[in-house]
Symmetry: C4
Subunit: 256 residues, 4 copies
């Protein structure tokens, strides 16, 4: 199989993992940039991620429009298109309504910060994008490139941005990484909420810890593969799993 075939197979698995882990439900979506043409990306047609198969994938252009396909695409595909446009380093994007992240998007003065090691990708704190600031009263959905670009601006160089009263968007360097972020973001949120309610000062990860974890991240490490494999099998996608990266099988005494 070509690299593109592998990528699209992984995109289907990503859909199933995000659904099975409760990050997305009927709504929410994940995309991947075309490995050979950075102005294109792939995502399912409008369908609950749980149901996505290879045949449901559509190729989009940089304006978020299907290149050929006539089936109904996701209304909010512009989230993906705009992030790919703004961030050449990003190859995969998720949009989700994961419930436990939502409280942080609708309050003032209580930012979502990394408090557990698996939440370090958050960076300093998660920015909150409020569509109302620039666009007034809307139905809260990102349904055109102008809104998408404003969201991407709020995301900046980060990995995740909260969307007030709506959900979040995450952006990463690979499908495995964006799925990982999206699964751990709600967990970090839950732990932070619970810690804050203990009525005591909460210790977030330090800047140095965030940096150390960012530096150490290896997308093809055994540690990364372990989670992908586990989530994929839990999601019933054992048959769809590709081969683990060479580094994941050999004795690799890396210090991550």
């Amino acid at each position: 199989m070509s690299q593109l075939d592998d990528l699209l197979r992984d995109l289907v698995v990503a859909n199933r993992i995000l659904s099975n882990e409760g990050v997305v439900d009927a709504y929410g979506h994940v995309s991947v940039r075309h490995p050979d043409n950075p102005q294109r990306f792939f995502m399912s047609r409008s369908l609950a991620p749980q149901l996505v198969e290879r045949r449901d994938l559509i190729e989009f252009d940089q304006a978020g429009e299907p290149v050929i396909d006539t089936r109904q695409p996701y209304l909010e595909r512009f989230i993906h298109a705009a992030i790919y446009e703004a961030r050449p380093d990003v190859t995969a994007v998720v949009h989700a309504h994961a419930e436990d992240t939502l409280p942080f998007g609708i309050v003032e003065g209580a930012p979502l910060v990394p408090v557990i090691h698996s939440g370090s990708f958050i960076g300093g704190k998660v920015p909150v994008w409020d569509i109302r600031k620039k666009f007034g009263d809307t139905n809260l959905l990102v349904t055109n490139m102008m809104q998408g670009r404003d969201l991407a601006k709020c995301l900046g160089n980060g990995r995740v941005v909260l969307m007030r009263g709506h959900g979040f968007a995450s952006a990463a360097r690979s499908i495995i990484e964006v799925v990982r972020l999206s699964v751990y973001l709600p967990r970090n949120a839950r732990v932070q909420m619970n810690a804050m309610r203990l009525g005591a000062k909460v210790t977030p990860l330090s800047k140095g810890e965030i940096a150390a974890r960012a530096t150490g991240y290896k997308p093809n490490s055994p540690e990364t593969w372990r989670a992908w494999q586990y989530w994929a099998i839990r999601a019933g996608c054992r048959a769809k799993l590709g081969k683990p990266p060479r580094a994941a099988t050999e004795a690799d005494r890396e210090t991550r």
Copy 2:
């Protein structure tokens, strides 16, 4: 199949979805108004929604009494009868005890408001009906038309009303819509509870946003169908799914 057949098939699916999504359990029910005779409605006999089949459905008159059937009906069928009577625009009703909505029904000064986009149907805030105000000490169940009418009055022109110490009733223009409301109401409640505990000011949806979402709602859109299909399949009702509305399959670049 006739329109009535389709409706009753969807009513069975609605029962299963509401049960599978945890909105109802042994208790709780959903009904639909007769498409040809507005003074009649259909609902299951007294049975946990999880177990409802087509043969369990009973036709009721406007007083909440079975037209012919002699099997035991739900005690609280008057919730449905009274709402249909008061609201010619309503074609489907749900009554549920969904746990996460209950706190808002038993406190003063902390109304349930729309804080996430999928909760916009709430309107400004959810009214709370306390049976004790007019009926004194009862077993809290709506067991006659007088109580049902008082509840319907509290519902007013809205989509949902909380019943103090008991649950909620929701009313909509279609089965798909009432199921949707009933699934998202507890989610909105959970997010609001969690946000309030962050000790910061909570930003609800603005009036304009609520209006924009109300205006944009299309009952047969791909976006609406996507959730119904997903929930139905999760509930094991794939075989019972009707055909998606034409608009759900064709490329439909609507801006909702």
Copy 3:
């Protein structure tokens, strides 16, 4: 089948329901008084309720000792023996560690009260038994009749008593009723905890409402059967379900 056979069949189902609904796990147990000999009761041997079959049931005497059986009984069988001794009106008892009830047993000044209609059986408020008051430092388990009797004294004429740092015991007039109480107690606790955190005054059920619901309770009503049937089927016990009470199938316009 005799009445005793039916009762023992229901006792097995009760074990499975309590386990499946998360009230008990490896620990916790349910018993029923002998219908013909009030000084005897039946309960499983020491086994997780999820695994209990008819052959695991043991007959106990009023001192909590097996009449004949030599297999290991539950250490805390004295909870049951003592409640049967103190309460001739009780025919079924549950002991459980259900997590959501525990916070109310370990704090001062925040009693568990009925806040939802299905929690009305609580009565005014749930008494808390602290084994330490009379017995000093122990392993917190009720392992003899003296401790059991002290617990039964705290239960008084009520339906449930919390055991500080441990769990609760519930007592009712039938297996169906004690299972019902035990399933709804944690739910009432969760709703009360969530309501208290909204920072507002919580409205409990009034004395009159508690009384109205107590008066109206009919153990063989369709409403009661509906839940038992639902829980039993969810627990995989459809084949073990007895016939519904006559009143549950005929049109019975009772006002509960």
Copy 4:
């Protein structure tokens, strides 16, 4: 089967139980000391515990290095190696990220204490190890013996230590005991968090109660076996269950 065979079979079951009970997920691990050579221990290769089979087990030396195996080991095997080194009484160790324990590891002044009887093993309160104190900014993982030893020092003579922003490590006298601790620690944490939010003074277990439960613990009692059997069957490991200890089947009127 030899004692070693039984132990390794139980180690596989332990992996599955910890995963099924939500203590570990893709990450986290459990080990057991070699019954004949205290300087060796066994643990799986780098793999999600849910997937561990007998063939995945690796024998490690006291420095945390595989004796022969060339497959990728867990990066944090030094948690296990260091605890075995510091604690001759310990024969089994778990490292997990169980979410509900994390809040207590990231706040000041709100220690995790035993509040329910099944949490008595905690002792007075759970110590919190912050890797930053001695090692500055790291990726928070214990990836060498120096860090492992510092963690073991914080564990002291206890059964569990929280790792700030990361998870916990538990240490016990047997596989059954370490699994038990690890399942009940998050439960104790949840109950304590919920009790603290009731705004009232929380009653922890007294020193005498903690001691009484510690004295009474019998690793091969019917009470202990009951939970292991239940968890193993829930985890799909019925076929892997060994024979219950003789004491678990005979009538054993112990007073624990």
